[in-house]
């Protein structure tokens, strides 16, 4: 809230143009973002099985969702996916970004290769990994790799981490790209000056690259955290649509889908969906607030 909006006004004209220019985006956002949101909030107070008529449920859906242990278990799993994903993806993405940033033919070749998983649809990625991780017919069947012939997706202890691994496989390239772009924006003069002062590569990385990447890191982390809060498709495919084994990978979005489209309890599913929106909103506000992202002053002040 540190940005002070200029108090001066030149009549309604400036406001009008601003509005006009923002109109297409706002219209689309309103139509496809806000309208469904309001609909979902309204539906969370209703009783509807998707077929019959809609009935008023009051707060029954909310009280049943909030008192259901399964909701909190799903939320716990979501937070776990979020935290583990962040811990796994950030260092790898940063390392890849550092590797990709300098120009060079080999580096760009690798950059292209690393980027490939991002181009595949989540369903394709999920089905491929499901086949690869099959203990009887997957990679575990390769001579020399028999130690991989474990029920990686089938054991309640391992399944969630396997899912996190596959998510990382798909999304690390994207975050590496963010870091690569961030690193390329750091003025070489900084490095040259530091080198003249006798700073080694490690010191340069710690004292120049990392601080300069602060906002890249904030962006990447926000996308990662909010993204994994709503992450659905890969987990759905990898667990055969059930969030199994047991409920070991049933994260909140998957619980919402199962409630809505398999149990056909649209009211409860809408309550879960509203919860997700609230958490997502809170989370992105929190990350931006904590990291000072909203101030977004230049990291190159004084250059």
């Amino acid at each position: 809230m540190t940005v002070t909006v200029p108090a001066r006004r030149r009549g309604g004209r400036a406001t009008g143009t601003g509005l006009l220019m923002a109109a297409p985006a706002l219209l689309l956002f309103g139509l496809f973002g806000l309208v469904p949101l309001v609909g979902v909030a309204a539906l969370s107070l209703a009783r509807w099985d998707g077929l019959g008529s809609v009935g008023w449920a009051g707060l029954a859906n909310w009280s049943s969702v909030l008192t259901d242990g399964a909701t909190w278990q799903a939320l716990g799993l979501t937070v776990k996916v979020m935290a583990v994903s962040w811990l796994v993806q950030t260092p790898i993405a940063l390392a890849l970004g550092v590797f990709q940033a300098p120009r060079g033919r080999v580096r760009s070749l690798f950059a292209v290769l690393f980027f490939l998983p991002l181009l595949l649809s989540a369903v394709a990625v999920g089905l491929t990994w499901q086949a690869l991780l099959d203990p009887s017919f997957g990679i575990g069947a390769t001579p020399g790799l028999h130690w991989l012939a474990k029920p990686l997706l089938g054991s309640p202890e391992l399944a969630l981490y396997t899912v996190v691994f596959v998510i990382a496989w798909q999304f690390v390239p994207f975050h590496a790209l963010l870091y690569q772009a961030g690193i390329r924006q750091i003025p070489t003069a900084l490095y040259e000056a530091a080198a003249l002062d006798g700073a080694g590569p490690v010191a340069r990385f710690r004292h120049i690259t990392l601080p300069q990447l602060k906002y890249t890191m904030v962006t990447s982390s926000t996308l990662m955290l909010v993204g994994s809060l709503t992450y659905f498709d890969l987990i759905f495919v990898l667990s055969g649509g059930t969030g199994g084994p047991g409920t070991a990978t049933r994260v909140l979005p998957l619980a919402m889908y199962i409630t809505g489209f398999q149990a056909h309890d649209m009211g409860r599913a809408s309550a879960v969906a509203t919860l997700l929106v609230v958490f997502g909103l809170g989370l992105s506000l929190l990350t931006t607030r904590l990291s000072g992202f909203t101030r977004m002053d230049s990291r190159q002040e004084g250059m």
Binding site: L26, V35, F137, G244, F261, D265, S298
Partner: protein, 444 residues
Amino acid sequence: MRGTPVNGNLKGPRIRRVVASAVALAAAMGLASCGTSGPSGSSADSSAKGLTMWALNDQTILKESVDAYNKDHPDEKITLRLFANDDYKQKLRVAFGAGQAPDIFFSWGGGALNDYVKAGKVDALTAAEANTDRFTPSVMQSATFDSKVYGVPANGLAPVVLYYNKKVLADAGVEPPKTYDDLLAAVKKLKGKGVTPLSLAANSKWPTLMYLEYLLDRQGGPQVFSKIASGDAAMWKDASVTKANQYLQDLSKAGAFGDNASSVGYDQGASTALLYTGKAAMEVMGTWEYANIAKAAPDFLKKGDLGYTALPSLSGGAGDPKSIVGNPSNFLSLNSSTKHRSAALTYLKDYVLDGSQVDAYLAAGSVPPVKDLESKLAAVKSSSDKAWLTFVYNLVEKAPGFQLSWDQALPSDQADPLLTNTDKSFLRQISPADFGVNMSKAAS
């Protein structure tokens, strides 16, 4: 040097006002749309001239009946749309909710179909309208609610049977198990030989449920589940339900399903492959598995290595060992808001499971649920197919009861708790008694 321009602050009062007005606008539009597009007044989605019909994409024989109908009725054709198994139910539900539903649709009967019946979305069919008397009565029960018929069977009988790899069993010196105790003994011997005794796609959860359905039917008899299906939630806590879970967990504890079952999904064909590649000795699965094996491993079938038998009996159980569980059939039902009722009835009456359809199903290794099939069975040419078809036909004919799969028989809001608790029981995350307690909670 300049930093990159940043446009991230949604903070000024001006923007806040815009957002506020957008929200207000959105709210108004939302309310307006709630008023007009409610789930009332759904009409069948069909072009002016023809009908639409939805089915699963593996129903290639059913497709031929539509083709035959279309050939005879060029003015009022049926447009058939085929869907993958997994999301079909959701698609159909959403289509009905949105008033975009097909005139004729494919279902499993049971509780899921009853949801549509209760919502007034399906028309009852009289015996004369759809000639329903030609079908096996025990099968028709899955589509009969309040003694009215709401669907016509559209494909083969699908009881659950025990398949086995003859070669693997012979190598281990094991006879096909006739009782549960035989099965446990076979499990020990087969494990010693290093093969997985029972191939199970536990990742898909419903294959595990087949064990519970069978074990409960053997242990407590058919009345336990029929009471549950009629809404008696307390019946889940019956001792026989606990016992059935105990038997399942005993099998699992004995290593009957190997170490990897929970990673195996059915749709990828891995559990089938384990059986015909000899990595597993047996598999409990519906009769559709025969066609899957014939397609995936024709040589295995040709060599005569595939064996099949009824599910083992359970000593001390109240159920009849001749009883079967599974899916009696799939059904075609009529959307109550169709504008093409008479054309749809013509199709259901004269083209679904007519003589040529029956022949086509038999040729594919599937027994259609029609009466008096003996002469047709005797005329089947391939001897391995004939043995199989006769086995299935006799199994169903002699069965005193045919229990519809629980996940289809129960209302759809209980299907997920059922599958989840089945999986947890299989993984031994919950005790045998917990299963019933959890289910009775979910059902009440």
